[in-house]
């Protein structure tokens, strides 16, 4: 039985009787309020059960014993029920938050007002009478006005007063609109008004009863009043003031309960609005969304930022509602359903996903901001402390990710559908606006998160190496405040945001089920894509159970191995190669983690989730499946980078660029439309050049190609030492993999088709990629050259190596592709060796500055040997794998006729040799430092992957066919004619390569002088002791400047230093400053003066009204 009356009666009765309960005692009133909130949340659930069970569309309940137009009626349909469930659940959690919090106390009038506000919102959702909407709106508004003062401070009074003035104007406009609609239609019943206006003229507003000037004005005033209540840009200053100044618990309710409820009324009234009005509404919503994000970015107060974010999210909802009719025509939206909800298709599901996601995450963050005593965005005083509260930090991260629309949360799925539907209906501009706004939103939300997470040592803007100016006179450790646990106010109330995070997770899974399993519109079962989440959950449980990190690592390796064993055999050639790189590569590199001690909450969970989402890129079949895995990979890797001690700046930049890349890919998928998983063969042209460019840019960002690379060095270098290797050797190849999969898109189309074709006849996208690859290879090597910080050297080196892969790929020839894959595999081996060996060295010597090392060959011989092998393999000198790669690269380049690129590649190789030489020389040769005289070899866990990789390198060097043959088979579908093999000799048009022979010859060349030195010249050879060379008496003031390894290539810097000018960084900073400046300029509108706000309201209303009427 559905009885909305009881919902109203119970809440209202409790509010009325509350003073009597209060007299009976604090507990009595608390029990009363809790019981009512529980009832209010439970009752709609029972309606949901009833409506789904009975299949009834909606239950209409009349009041006063008369039929609808005479009396006021209430409607309980699926829409109302779902919104009520969401809102009343949020209210229940809000009550929980207040009740568990000790200060200020949860008692008295604030409870009453809380109940009346909830009553107002419930009534708003239920009623079908236009004037009754006004009454319930006023109940909700007045309660909220009063609740703002709960914070009991000057700012709250100011905010409340402003809010009242603005709300009062909205109410006045609404009344005028309502009374004229009554005059024109003769009824106040919403259904009646819709019926009358439609029967008289088809389209409401276009003609008919409400089509005259008075009618248009009246309907507009109603719409405008609702919009003002929802705080449109620029008429919304009072709204953010209220969010900022209120008690966090009240702000949460204002955002979650009040705003969501008012939005539902707006949604309910949409059938009244004419297409022209809807267009204006869409514009207003879009502007609100975008500018609110821009303004939020500029805020330094946490709750003001969240307030702008709330307003922006509502703008997005308004935009969707305004576009309803257009979006509904999209195929994807029509076929979309959420399991368990008997509404299929249409924007309503989209709205409920966005609204629900926003409601829970925003309320959660408001609560959390209260619990953490978060006032300022920079979190001064909280530095590093949050890391000691992993549960709070994890919750913070979850809610932030949910609000930013990252997978697997509901907003992610909604965003996917929205963007696809927008693009499918040709709304490209809006697509871009929404994606840009979402990007800004993710930026400022995670900036907040990282500011609170960062350690004491982290300045937050580290993107490149920082060479200490002087010998550190003070020990930094002493300076760090040892204060233990952050000061939280009433940690108990964390139950409320915790439950909302759980609900968000659950709510995220539902649409996922419908979109990714066999029940979805695509009909492709991709349940395996949830594996990363399962892994994250499993390892989080292990963390909670305090399972030692070593056991977790072994479990992780085992699980990864099993996963690989299951999926790799079923993959086709190309995917199998990348499968081995992604999965086997990751499994091997997890060994060093076993060296860790103590607790590392979240580490293994995030890592496993990242590896699995990476692996899932290989098995996903649909565009959504791919995008989901891609974003999941981004999120998990972001959290991994953020663990680094000084990584907050770098990880934020990583997130920003990765998300920008993901959004470009999303845009490309949306514009392209067709599935990119058809393995389009090279040569098969696809016409959507725009789509290809967007996808390509997304992939190139992931690969860190020149111009898009500025996120790369910081992220690789500032992440924890045993984690960096995953990014460099495994993750960076995700972009390459996607390029291979979608190669067909890049092969043929000209960059400037059509009219300009005559001007640029030769420029195909692939040749552009080739140039980018060559220049990246050069730039990476060159930038690596001058680094003192070894991890930055390796980071730039990785960038350069990926450039080679890109260059080879772009050739679009058989040899080119083989070389690209060959490089990908061997890079995994040698760069993995380098990163792990270096991690071992850093672990022992506790510094990353190369000039502070030296002579470690005697202390760490195995690491030395690894690095030696790795740099030989990397630099491309015989006899190891790098030689084969270079041979294939130059051969392929020359065959293709890309001589200039070949020249650049050659030059880059020479530079690479320089920095590699420096690497081994400075770290392992020369003088052993005094303080390193007792360092030991790296722990066994670091050595295991090194040894495995050495074996691999040696095998592939001796017997190149063991890898070349599989690679050739992998690309056989694309290039059917085989390369000629003659035993161990590879033949090409330009010559041949016999890995075996090269190996023996080089060994010989190396061995002969060695033997000569050791045996014939034995007497003239002597070991050089450490103190063979001595300093002159004094200790130098700046010791590092006297070390031979410091500024090793100063002469090259003199010659070529101009190339180091960070032009790219400047460009991106300039881009960011455009946003900043725009934000600052727009901010000037928010003068804080309510009279300005009134003026803005008046201008907003009148300008839109005159636009709508097309003049006077």
């Amino acid at each position: 039985m559905v009885s909305p009356i009881y919902l109203i009666v119970v809440i209202l009765g409790a509010a009325f009787l509350h003073p009597l309960f209060e007299k009976a005692g604090k507990t009595a009133s608390r029990v009363l309020v809790s019981a009512v909130l529980l009832f209010a949340a439970a009752l709609p659930v029972s309606w949901f059960v009833y409506l789904t069970g009975s299949g009834i569309d909606a239950v209409i309940v009349n009041t006063a014993g008369f039929q609808a137009p005479l009396s006021i009626n209430l409607r309980v349909g699926m829409e109302e029920t779902l919104f009520l469930i969401m809102i009343n659940t949020a209210a229940l959690l809000g009550g929980l938050f207040f009740m568990l919090r000790s200060n200020p106390e949860w008692k008295g009038k604030v409870q009453v007002l809380f109940l009346t506000m909830l009553l107002g919102i419930n009534g708003l959702i239920l009623t079908r009478d236009l004037f009754n909407v006004f009454v319930f709106l006023e109940i909700a508004s007045i309660s909220l006005y009063a609740l703002i003062s709960f914070a009991k401070k000057g700012d709250a009074y100011e905010a409340g007063f402003k809010y009242m003035i603005a709300g009062g104007i909205a109410a006045a406009l609404f009344l005028i609109g309502v009374i004229y609609i009554y005059r024109l239609t003769g009824t106040l019943n919403i259904d009646g008004i819709i019926a009358v206006s439609e029967s008289a003229g088809g389209n409401p507003g276009a003609s008919g009863i409400l089509g005259g000037k008075a009618g248009v004005t009246a309907v507009f005033l109603v719409a405008a009043a609702m919009l003002i209540e929802l705080k449109p840009f620029p008429a919304n200053g009072w709204g953010v003031d209220a969010y900022e100044a209120s008690d966090p618990g009240i702000s949460a309710m204002a955002s979650a309960v009040s705003a969501t409820g008012i939005f539902f009324v707006f949604y309910k009234l949409i059938p009244l609005f004419s297409p022209d009005l809807l267009k204006l509404i869409t514009i207003s919503g879009g502007m609100t969304f975008f500018f609110s994000q821009l303004l939020a970015m500029k805020q330094d107060k946490v709750r003001r930022m969240l307030g702008y974010s709330s307003i922006g999210q509502l703008g997005l909802l308004i935009l969707i509602a305004g576009l309803g009719n257009i979006l509904n025509s999209s195929e994807l939206l029509a076929g979309f359903s959420i399991p368990g909800i008997p509404i299929s298709g249409g924007i309503f599901l989209l709205l409920i996903l966005f609204a629900g996601s926003h409601l829970l995450s925003k309320a959660g963050l408001f609560w959390l901001s209260g619990i953490m005593n978060a006032e300022n965005i920079n979190g001064s005083g909280t530095n590093g402390l949050l890391r000691k509260r992993p549960a709070v930090a994890g919750l913070f991260g979850l809610l932030t990710a949910a609000l930013a629309g990252l997978p697997p949360f509901p907003a992610f799925w909604a965003k996917w559908i929205l963007i696809m539907a927008l693009a499918a209906t040709g709304n490209y501009f809006l697509t871009a606006v929404i994606l840009l706004g979402s990007l800004i939103e993710a930026w400022y939300l995670f900036r907040w998160f990282l500011n609170y997470m960062k350690t004491e040592k982290d300045t937050g803007d580290i993107h490149d190496e920082i060479v200490p100016e002087d010998f550190p006179l003070e020990n930094i450790e002493d300076a760090s405040r040892a204060a233990g646990i952050p000061q939280f106010s009433s940690l108990r109330s964390i139950a409320a945001p915790f439950i909302s995070a759980l609900l968000l997770l659950a709510a995220g899974i539902l649409p996922a089920i419908s979109l990714l399993t066999a029940n979805g519109p695509a009909g492709v079962d991709e349940t395996i894509l949830f594996l990363p989440l399962a892994a994250l959950a499993l390892f989080t449980v292990l963390d909670v159970l305090r399972i030692p990190i070593k056991l977790q690592v072994f479990a992780g390796i085992a699980v990864t191995a099993v996963y690989g064993a299951i999926i790799i055999p079923d993959l086709d050639g190309l995917r199998m190669i990348f499968g081995i790189i992604f999965i086997a590569g990751s499994a091997i590199q997890m060994f060093p983690l076993a060296n860790r001690e103590g607790r590392h909450p979240g580490l293994m969970g995030m890592l496993m989730a990242m590896i699995f989402s990476l692996g899932n890129l290989l098995v996903c079949k649909s565009s959504l499946g791919f995008f989901f895995s891609w974003e999941l990979m981004t999120v998990t890797s972001f959290f991994l980078i953020a663990r680094g001690e000084k990584a907050s700046g770098a990880s934020l930049r990583y997130l920003l660029f990765s998300l920008a890349g993901a959004f470009l890919i999303l845009g490309g998928l949306a514009v392209g439309g067709s599935s990119i998983f058809a393995d389009i063969l090279p040569g098969q042209a696809d016409t959507e050049t725009v789509s290809t460019i967007l996808l390509g840019l997304g992939f190139l960002i992931k690969m860190g190609s020149l111009g898009l690379h500025i996120w790369l060095p910081g992220s690789y270098a500032e992440s924890e030492d045993d984690i960096s290797t995953f990014f460099s050797t495994v993750l960076s190849k995700a972009g390459l993999y996607m390029l291979f999969i979608t190669a067909g898109l890049f092969a043929a189309p000209l960059l400037f088709p059509g009219r300009a074709a005559g001007l640029f006849p030769q420029i195909s996208l692939s040749s552009l990629l080739g140039w980018i690859g060559a220049l990246t290879a050069f730039a990476g090597a060159f930038l690596a050259l001058f680094k003192e910080d070894i991890k930055y050297t390796l980071a730039y080196s990785s960038m350069g190596q990926v450039g080679y892969m890109l260059l080879s790929f772009a050739l679009m020839t058989q040899l080119g592709w083989m070389n690209s894959l060959y490089l990908a595999v061997t890079h995994l081996l040698f760069k993995g060796m380098l990163f792990v060996a270096v991690a071992g060295v850093i672990y022992r010597v506790k510094t990353r500055m190369m000039y502070q090392m030296g002579g470690l060959i005697s202390r760490m011989p195995i690491s030395f040997f690894t690095v030696l092998i790795a740099i030989i393999a990397l630099s491309g000198v015989p006899p190891l794998t790098g030689f084969g790669a270079k041979w294939m690269l130059y051969t392929a380049l020359i065959e293709k006729g890309w001589y200039l690129q070949a020249g650049i590649a050659m030059f880059a190789s020479a530079i690479a040799f320089l920095y590699l030489f420096r690497l081994i020389h400075v770290i392992f040769l020369g003088q052993l430092k005094d303080e390193h005289r007792n360092v030991k070899e790296a722990p066994i866990w670091f050595l295991i992957p090194q040894v495995i990789s050495i074996i691999g390198i040696m095998l592939f060097s001796m017997y190149p066919n063991t890898i070349l043959k599989p690679l050739q088979n992998a690309i056989l579908p694309y290039f059917p004619t085989g390369i000629e093999f003659d035993g161990y000799t590879v033949l090409s048009t330009l010559g041949y390569w016999n890995g075996n022979a090269v190996m023996f010859v080089t060994m010989g060349v190396f061995m002969v002088p060695l033997i000569w030195m050791l045996i014939v010249q034995r007497k003239n050879t002597q070991m050089v002791g450490q103190f063979n060379i001595v300093f002159a008496a004094e200790r130098p003031y700046k010791p590092e400047t006297t070390h031979f390894g410091y500024n090793f290539f100063a002469h090259y810097r003199t010659a070529l230093g101009f190339l180091l000018n960070p032009g790219v960084t400047r460009f991106w900073k300039w881009t960011a400053s455009i946003a900043e400046v725009t934000g600052s300029a727009v901010r000037k509108l928010y003068s804080g003066n309510i009279q300005t706000y009134v003026l803005l309201i008046v201008l907003y209303v009148t300008i839109f009204l005159l636009l709508l009427r097309g003049g006077f």
Binding site: E138, G168, A171, I179
Partner: protein, 120 residues
Amino acid sequence: MNMTQLVLLLGFLLSLIGFWGLMTRRDIFRMIISFSLLDTGVHMVMIGIGYVKNGTAPIFDEALIVEDAVGKVVDPVPSALVLTAIVIGLAVTALMLSYAVRVYTSRKSLSIDAVKELKW
């Protein structure tokens, strides 16, 4: 000009004065009074809309019997609505005044210029 238009015009004029006051008066109490003017103007508009030519109050007595009341009475609906609107306006005004008191105690001024700490 007919009766309805007269009331409507006066109502809108009152609202306009209210808007003017809200945008220009610096004193918080004057702003609240302006708001009341705006509200009252709207109420007048509502009443004006309910007017029916030559109608009287819809209260039955000896002079007005049910059978021939149609055509003789004004619309009771706007009257009912305006009653509700007035009470709500009263409630809003009361709360606004309380806020004004609090703003005064916290900022020591009744000028709206003292009430713009929250901005940007």
